[in-house]
């Protein structure tokens, strides 16, 4: 009964939205140049953000799971803080650190001529900031579920730390990495607050789909509805696929590892 109310609570706003979508205008809106640019920018930046999150997030997750060091829980809290922070606060924090007058941003500009605000790179930075924790948490829990004796055995057989990570740990946690990357990607795709605060809003450069949707609400609410539905459809498809294809496999693989050979197949 309570579960049913919970499901309704999530389903009703969706129904409300779908109910009002001007389906006859869908094609017009989607084929307009500005929407095309926003969609293209959103997909590009969010894919790069997911990739960056993976490159830095997997080693971070491994460190949090396997390396005992003082202050580990503080580092973990710090690395996942942006999950609970309002995204706008994240944007403001980025602004004061990597902005033109920011603590570090002024040197980026002075020494390397790099400016992040108002650039597509700034969009990626904002997206990575909010998306990476999802990957870190997912990967860390996969590593924790992995039998540490596997890695230890490989180490005693003479494998270097890097070799063991690359050949034993990483293949075994692949489902967790993929699930984390997909979650991070979908979070980056929907990023709004940090982006509009830190990167601004310029069509073709920093105006992603969520920003275009928000601005459309000011002038053309019907177009905003169409854009919302596109974002919902993409995210829903991702979550649905994620559940069945990756999370379903991650659990048996992590709970009962049968050696690297069995896991990698």
């Amino acid at each position: 009964m309570l579960a049913g109310i919970a499901v309704l609570f999530f389903a009703l706003p969706l129904l409300g939205l779908l109910w009002r979508v001007p389906w006859s205008r869908t094609w017009d809106v989607l084929s307009s140049r500005s929407v095309g640019r926003a969609l293209q920018l959103s997909i590009t930046t969010s894919l790069i953000a997911a990739l960056v999150s993976m490159v830095f997030g997997v080693p971070l997750a491994w460190m949090l799971a396997r390396v005992g060091f003082p202050g580990r829980s503080v580092v973990r809290a710090l690395s996942t803080l942006s999950m609970v922070l309002p995204a706008v606060v994240g944007g403001v924090a980025l602004f004061f650190s990597f902005g033109r007058r920011g603590l570090f941003g002024q040197y980026l500009d002075e020494w390397f001529g790099i400016r992040l605000p108002f650039t597509s790179a700034g969009v990626v930075v904002a997206q990575v900031f909010v998306a990476m924790p999802f990957l870190v948490l997912s990967v860390e829990s996969s590593i924790r579920q992995l039998d540490v004796r596997l890695e230890e055995a490989a180490r005693t057989l003479g494998g270097s730390r890097w070799y063991v990570f690359w050949r034993i740990t990483l293949p075994a946690i692949r489902p967790g990495v993929v699930a984390g990357a997909v979650l991070a990607w979908s979070r980056a795709l929907g990023e709004f607050g940090a982006t509009i605060t830190f990167a601004g809003n310029l069509p073709g450069r920093t105006q992603t789909m969520p920003l275009a949707t928000y601005l459309a609400l000011e002038s053309d609410p019907e177009a905003a509805l169409v854009l919302s539905v596109v974002l919902i459809a993409v995210s829903f498809a991702v979550l649905l696929g994620l559940r069945d294809r990756w999370l379903g496999q991650a659990r048996p693989a992590g709970a009962a590892p049968q050696g690297p050979a069995a896991v990698t197949t």
Binding site: I5, L8, L12, F95, G99, R100, R101, P117, F118, I196, A199, G200, N201, L202, P203, T206, Q207, L211, Y214, L215, A216, L217, E218, S219, P221
Partner: protein, 244 residues
């Protein structure tokens, strides 16, 4: 769900008996974000004369306010920054809109004007970071008009979602210049500098107040609109930099 809605309705009474037995009325005033500070003060002044009326303000960009009203948000008085926005209301208004204030545009630059900006034409200077409001919101549309009148082509670095975001980007040094309302420049005080735009290039933003046709308290709403034209309200508006 139905129970929840009822509980909410009980918690948020639009009308309730006051302590002294007179009926308390809550007026919902939807107003342009640029009026925020001035209207809070005017609201305080109005309450002194009408303790039975509680004013509940909703400040946002004029176009989003119109969307909210059309989606059924309860509103009695509507004060957009552009009278054309009133035409966007599905249910319309009662009577004619009353002009309550005017505003002009100004260039805002960092405090002390380090880039030496003097005219609109300077905004086209290469390497200068200019931010404007998006064309979807009134001040963004006005800024475009002003630039077109001056024959200046600007490539903005960002089209912000509201006027305060433009101000913030300039005041914090993220952008070199922006086009905002004169009242916004006045509001930031020492933290920013305003460069006036000559009248022949400038546009006048006209704030009109109207009583909505669906207003729950039409009589009180009309009284509040009349108060906006009073000496007292005008003095407050002028102090915040509006024309009246």
């Amino acid at each position: 769900m139905g129970l929840g809605a009822l509980a909410l309705a009980a918690l948020l009474p639009a009308c309730s008996a006051g302590r002294d037995g007179t009926d308390q009325v809550t007026l919902d005033v939807f107003a342009a974000a640029s009026l925020t500070d001035a209207l809070w003060e005017i609201g305080g002044a109005y309450r002194e004369a009408h303790p039975e009326v509680t004013l509940r303000f909703n400040f946002a960009s004029s176009s989003s306010l119109a969307t909210q009203v059309n989606e059924g948000a309860p509103a009695d008085v509507f004060v957009p920054a552009d009278a054309d926005v009133i035409d966007l209301l599905d249910a319309g208004i009662t009577g004619d809109p009353v002009v309550v204030a005017t505003n002009r545009l100004e260039i805002i630059v960092e405090s002390g004007n380090p880039q030496g900006i003097a005219t609109l034409a300077d905004l086209a200077r290469p390497g200068l970071d200019v931010v404007l409001a998006a064309p979807e919101v009134p001040v963004g549309a006005y800024a475009r008009e002003v630039l077109a009148r001056a024959g200046v082509r600007v490539s903005p670095r960002s089209l912000e979602s509201n006027v305060k975001a433009v101000v913030t980007k300039v005041v914090l040094g993220e952008a070199d210049a922006g086009i905002v309302y004169s009242t916004d420049v006045l509001a930031v005080g020492e933290r920013g500098t305003g460069i006036p735009i000559p009248s022949e290039q400038n546009v006048v933003a006209v704030y009109s107040a109207a009583v909505l046709r669906d207003a729950a308290h039409a009589a009180q709403a009309a009284d509040f609109v009349r108060f906006l034209k009073s000496e007292r309200a005008r003095a407050i508006l002028e102090r915040y930099g509006f024309g009246t």
